[in-house]
Symmetry: C2
Subunit: 440 residues, 2 copies
């Protein structure tokens, strides 16, 4: 009789955004004539630059002729795209990379989820809280920890006990009886009390998820702050999973676009990047992950294994490559040609305008709420504004509240983790006229 | 200190096809003037029908206008494509399916690899041998078993001991000490002695991989033979993972295109399908997986969990959906429009011609080898011909042999598993003139 993975039962049933969409649909049905201002959008809305579309159409045409038809491409992506990425996203910031350190994929969500395959169950994972839910959910699915209680009930308990400022171990840190290794998840609170900067946890984490510019808070880490994490990871032989999907939105100096701007980071960090938010590719599917060859770790084999092999130093690049080749078959050729065109001058000009458009929306939204007496964060190096919910209300209550009162849809902070409770995410991805028409 | 997933060390270092390519490249360097006839190709070579390309170009154009731009699509795929799949691939064979039983993805390799996330480690997995390597490798990565010895050494040992006809447990069947559940992999031999039909193993498997028409052997199961497996899975509450990526190549009657042609299969089987080999989409990336809502299994919770929940019946459809939404973000809109166009009359006509072209190549190749005194199987309902290697030679020796003698490249059977030793895969995916120019 088959045994299913019971860790799925430990996940919350509803994925955050589908719940928001359901509530929005219900509101529309009840109020067919009222206008909704959707500031909950986590997706780009500006179209793809024409030069990119024309390039993709040329790639389509190649597919209809025997001489130019392309079947399976390299699982890791075509060199023509990897070369552009290295030159324009890295070399320009003084970072050198080899072609086989770049892995093209169909989305950062996939990469961030799939990377957990590389790690043993017995690891302590540190995740900033609030957080993009995928980091947490994929670790739960992989069984790296056991939930003692539901995230939601945990969240409300935390709130009651007013322990928001302290780090907490949301999930049982388990000692694997057989192997005597610790396993579990530590949530690192990021809130206004600590300026949204995660503090080094008291237990040493083996895997550290950092996303900057951050989704959902819209805040950033300075080079100095990021350096602390790189040094810490080096000292403790941890690995940092650095998600910089929003780096193109950085407007201020001294904010790192890549973790590899920090000395030594290649020995401790994997970086996730995406064309989704930088080039409007959410419907086209293209992202990439950097796994430097300097990133190596020892695998300690237990006695029963050691007859055939000794402890061994493993290149993380090599095992990610093996995973990629075994469970993935490359990105659509047409999409890859489109992504290559992202780097041409004409596309760059238009894409920068798009990003400015979203950032200006975020600025307008933030100002309107601040002028109405709210505290708001982010929105400067990020399309996300992180609003503080008025005291006494949960973020889901606030959701219902402003939907009813102003027709505004946003995303309740508690959906991003216990420390998101009391906050609310607004995004600049909507239309300018919507941002301008806001009345609060 | 991070603990990497040491199961990666248990995989063979070289992926079969890269090894073939390396050897082919080396031969070309040594013999720059000799012609190579590549019968090792596992990829389509015929271009995409013009009507599909034109449809994709229209989808590209939609992306450049605000009014028609599409960002994130549904993770499970657009209804416009799912409706066509249900109508033309299933209803036509008397099989009804709901939209939420169809999951569009970027490749069957991904789906077949990712499905292992749904199952607990403690399962006995039965895999036909020889086999598409992904089934085996993804189970090893997931740690569902421990290799006692390398697959390769295992293979040669098997050969020496002449135990080819008997099922064998290639990997240690482990009893999980804590949970008292059996875990491991059983290889079910498919060879000329049993007409390439896997026999029911002596230990009851929980998960059964079946791929028909088969890669690499090119052989098929009749409805009666497949029914035995469906009945067996039902009786033992196992799950069948049915890979029918090559169903479009079936030419004979009484061969099931879908496992759901067998009564009761919806309660026991997940089916994987792909546009890769049926429509030439290997470079465009589109596949789909059917998870019927009838497929449900109980999750037995242990005592420590049961305080909060009782044992529970879980819909496999629901947990696959959760996995899909958490770790995947949908297929390129352009590709999905292309896949939709696959079902129009004009495309169907051309695609059927392409399949006939590949099948005719396979027929020619098979005949030439048979006329030269070889035993050969498959090639009738499949683009693959499964050649028996002359006695006394390993399949890698035969590879070197015919490359040197005739300039022919094929794929050594041993790369597909211990029972592939002694066989050799040839494919009809090359050019007609290459098949016709074969001299053996």
């Amino acid at each position: 009789m088959i045994k299913l993975n019971k860790n799925f039962l430990k996940l919350q049933d509803n994925y955050l955004f589908s719940e928001v969409n359901t509530k929005m649909r219900q509101y529309k049905e009840k109020n067919p004539n009222k206008k909704i201002i959707n500031l909950g959008i986590g997706d780009v809305t500006r179209p793809i630059p024409k030069i990119i579309v024309e390039t993709m159409k040329m790639a389509c045409d190649e597919m209809k002729e025997s001489a130019t038809f392309r079947g399976y491409g390299p699982e890791q992506g075509y060199d023509f795209l990897k070369e552009k990425i290295i030159k324009y996203d890295y070399n320009i910031r003084g970072i050198s990379l080899d072609l086989d350190e770049v892995f093209i994929s169909d989305g950062s969500k996939c990469d961030v989820g799939n990377i957990v395959d590389l790690f043993a169950k017995e690891n302590v994972v540190a995740i900033t809280d609030p957080v993009y839910p995928v980091y947490l959910d994929t670790n739960i699915i992989a069984g790296r920890n056991t939930l003692k209680e539901e995230v939601t009930s945990n969240s409300s308990k935390l709130k009651q006990n007013n322990i928001k400022q302290e780090e907490h171990i949301a999930f049982e840190l388990q000692e694997d009886t057989e192997k005597n290794k610790l396993s579990g998840i530590i949530l690192m609170p990021c809130n206004k009390e600590n300026n949204f900067i995660p503090q080094i946890p008291s237990k040493i984490p083996d895997i550290i998820y950092l996303c900057y510019p951050n989704n959902p808070t819209g805040t950033v880490l300075s080079k100095e702050e990021l350096k602390k994490w790189v040094d810490y990871a080096k000292e403790n032989e941890s690995i940092i999973l650095f998600d910089s999907a929003y780096e193109a939105y950085i407007t201020e100096e001294n904010i790192p676009h890549s973790i590899y701007e920090i000395e030594g980071a290649k020995e401790v960090a994997i970086e996730f990047r995406s064309f989704s938010k930088t080039a409007g590719f959410t419907g086209l599917r293209c992202a990439y992950t950097i796994v430097p060859k300097e990133l190596k770790r020892e695998i300690k084999l237990e006695e029963r294994d050691s007859s055939s092999r000794n402890n061994t130093i493993v290149s993380v690049n090599k095992i990610w490559n093996r995973r990629h080749c075994t469970k993935f078959n490359g990105v659509s050729y047409i999409t890859q040609r489109g992504a290559e065109a992202v780097y041409c001058e004409e596309a760059q000009k238009e894409l920068k305008e798009n990003i400015k458009y979203y950032l200006t929306n975020a600025k307008i939204i933030k100002e309107k709420f601040v002028n109405a007496g709210f505290n708001a964060y982010g929105g400067v190096n990020s399309p996300y504004v992180w609003l503080e919910v008025p005291k006494g209300k949960t973020s889901w209550e606030f959701f219902d509240d402003i939907l009813e009162k102003y027709g505004i849809v946003g995303t309740p902070g508690s959906g991003f983790g216990p420390n998101g409770e009391g906050y609310f995410r607004l995004t600049g991805f909507g239309k300018r006229e919507d941002a301008e028409s806001l009345v609060i």
